[in-house]
């Protein structure tokens, strides 16, 4: 998959509470969650983020709470992809499971200025900062995780498997 968009830059340790505060967790509706995305770290973010925009963030992105509402809110807000130095492990799994594209690329994050436009190719494994013209390799996903992404998300992979097991009629 290829993405292109301008970035909003965030620091290290952006936790799941600031991505989507618990006061909005009385719903699982993606659009409703998206209205409050990043509210406690950047109030007004949901108003200014445009479809296709990219989040660039430091280390340990998505730390803390296991709330899947966090990547759901980011995806529903129109963010096409995240480039971070590293991800907290639950957020990482959640993003893969719900089909929010994420890549790890510390060097690209260090060089990025907010507003820079990035091109990202998750299949070929690179990101390019169009302002500087500099390209970076990204860490490829493990083949096991590539299979989940290729299936269209974890539950699609699980649904296929339970059909193959004969537990659900074809």
């Amino acid at each position: 998959m290829r993405f292109q968009g301008k970035n909003w830059k965030f620091p290290d340790d952006v936790d799941a509470d600031v991505i989507i505060p618990a006061r909005y967790l009385m719903t699982t509706d993606a659009d409703e969650l998206a209205e409050h995305v990043m509210e406690d770290i950047d109030p007004g973010f949901s108003k200014k983020v445009q479809k296709g925009d990219i989040i660039v963030a430091g280390a340990n992105f998505g730390c803390g709470s296991s709330r899947e509402h966090a990547p759901i809110a980011i995806k529903a807000a129109g963010v096409s992809c995240i480039i971070a130095k590293s991800y907290a492990r639950i957020f990482y799994r959640n993003a893969i499971n719900i089909g929010l594209p994420i890549v790890e690329c510390p060097e690209a994050v260090d060089d990025a200025e907010e507003g820079d436009e990035f091109e990202i190719d998750t299949d070929e494994g690179w990101v390019r900062n169009t302002r500087t013209g500099k390209s970076y390799e990204v860490k490829p996903f493990d083949p096991f995780i590539q299979d989940i992404i290729a299936a269209g998300g974890l539950m699609e992979a699980v649904a296929k498997r339970v059909r193959e097991q004969g537990r659900v009629a074809e």
Partner: protein
């Protein structure tokens, strides 16, 4: 080559002789847990499989605890989705009034055993490492997949060994130890790793203190935090569970990513200032930091041992006139025991409130949400911006003793500076 206890559990659960850090394995799960915030998403995802039944209703646990008793109509609807699913599937379910906070209730009911693989749609599901289990938090969709398959995938984590040495001061508990550790290594200091807590100090540490430490392994970014199985674990399990279990032990030649030694002899009661759990200081070094609220409870510090520590400090004392002190037992059982022991009267006489069990204020849900500019000392586990209410409120994490001392003083206080009643 030897294996760590984490590797042994994952090898056994994946039907293999050995596993190595970095490998992805599919493991059978012994317990799958979800709560009123995460369950509605899990249930929606589970239904996408077309399956009518979960893999094993006796291994699926649903606990309403975050926003119950329902704080508003929307949270009531969420809890209802969960309750109906639990009853339809015949899963283990703990209703309001017979329940409490998941990580307090599950062990009390003997459901979390040494050597098991336990996953929960709650980040503090790493708590059960206190009992020598591999336990970890996941998102709702991972939990839905496990409810369907009875398995989950795990990347075998590298293990980091923490060796606690020296003499543990009497008034230093598990919360102080884990906050101090997170202060040393940072909030991603054990990212995706297994924290193995060992050493002569740990050998003598109570199970409740171990629970506090395992509970907060996630705050260092860890996948799990695990303790050796010993006589204290055996005694604890004998008290709470009749279920058979098989503990695991790390081999002497197991490989660790790192070994970190921590001397606890000079440790003073610890606080973590806003807005990260790693921003640790000795409570005694924080002067004139006024507060408006104290919260005592949560999956970290809502057990009877915590309430006893608080009562010993509050007995015969009064909560500062400008402080709201909110004490929340971790479960109905804890509430009953606190009442039997006379602790409830001590809290009420001191001018604190004693609430029904809930996660409520920890995540800014209800029962103690903070206004702009307010500051709270809390025995919960996260002091992220906005966690307990307004984004410009501040949370100071601490153990129960510091929280109780601060409630009396009206500011961040060192319990060593206060008289302790005989209890």
């Amino acid at each position: 080559m030897g294996m760590t206890m984490t590797e042994k559990i994952l090898a056994r659960a994946s039907g293999r002789e050995t596993v190595e850090p970095g490998e992805i394995v599919e493991v059978a799960v012994d317990l799958v847990m979800t709560n009123d915030i995460t369950a509605p998403l899990s249930i929606r995802e589970f239904k996408k499989t077309g399956l009518e039944r979960v893999f094993d209703p006796k291994k699926v646990v649903l606990v309403p605890d975050h926003f119950v008793p329902a704080k508003d109509i929307k949270s009531a609807e969420q809890a209802k989705i969960m309750r109906e699913f639990a009853h339809e599937q015949g899963t283990i379910y703990f209703e309001v009034g017979r329940a409490g906070i998941e990580h307090v209730v599950l062990p009390e009911n003997g459901l979390t055993l040494p050597g098991q693989v336990i996953i929960g749609a709650d980040s503090h599901s790493c708590t059960y490492g206190a009992f020598n289990a591999f336990s970890t938090g996941m998102g709702s969709t991972d939990i839905a997949a496990a409810m369907a398959l009875g398995t989950t995938w795990v990347r075998v984590p590298p293990s980091i060994k923490y060796v606690y040495k020296g003499t543990l001061p009497e008034d230093i508990g598990g919360k102080d130890l884990i906050l101090h550790t997170i202060g040393l290594i940072g909030v991603d200091g054990a990212l995706s790793a297994a924290m193995e807590f060992t050493g002569p100090v740990i050998d003598k540490l109570s199970i409740d203190d171990r629970i506090e430490m395992a509970n907060m392994a996630i705050e260092a970014g860890a996948k799990t935090g695990i303790f050796p199985f010993d006589e204290l674990t055996r005694e604890w399990m004998a008290q709470y569970s009749d279920n058979p279990y098989e503990p695991v032990f790390s081999d002497d030649d197991a490989t660790y990513q790192e070994v970190i030694e921590i001397d606890v002899t000079d440790l003073r009661p610890v606080v973590a200032l806003p807005h990260l759990p790693s921003n640790t200081h000795a409570a005694a070094d924080i002067h004139d930091m006024t507060i408006q609220q104290v919260v005592i409870g949560s999956c970290t510090n809502g057990r009877i041992s915590d309430l006893r520590e608080v009562a010993a400090i509050l007995k015969g004392q009064q909560v500062h006139p400008e402080i709201r002190c909110i004490i929340i037992p971790g479960s109905q059982e804890v509430a009953k025991q606190a009442t039997r022991e006379g602790l409830t009267d001590i809290f009420l006489d001191a001018g604190a409130i004693f609430s029904t069990s809930t996660c409520g204020p920890c995540l800014g849900g209800y029962m103690g949400v903070l206004a702009e500019g307010e500051r709270c000392v809390s025995t919960t586990n996260r002091n992220f911006r906005g966690r307990m209410g307004h984004r410009n409120a501040e949370i100071i994490l601490a153990g129960p003793r510091v929280a109780a001392a601060s409630a009396i003083a009206g500011k961040v206080a060192d319990p060593r500076a206060l008289p302790v009643a005989a209890i």
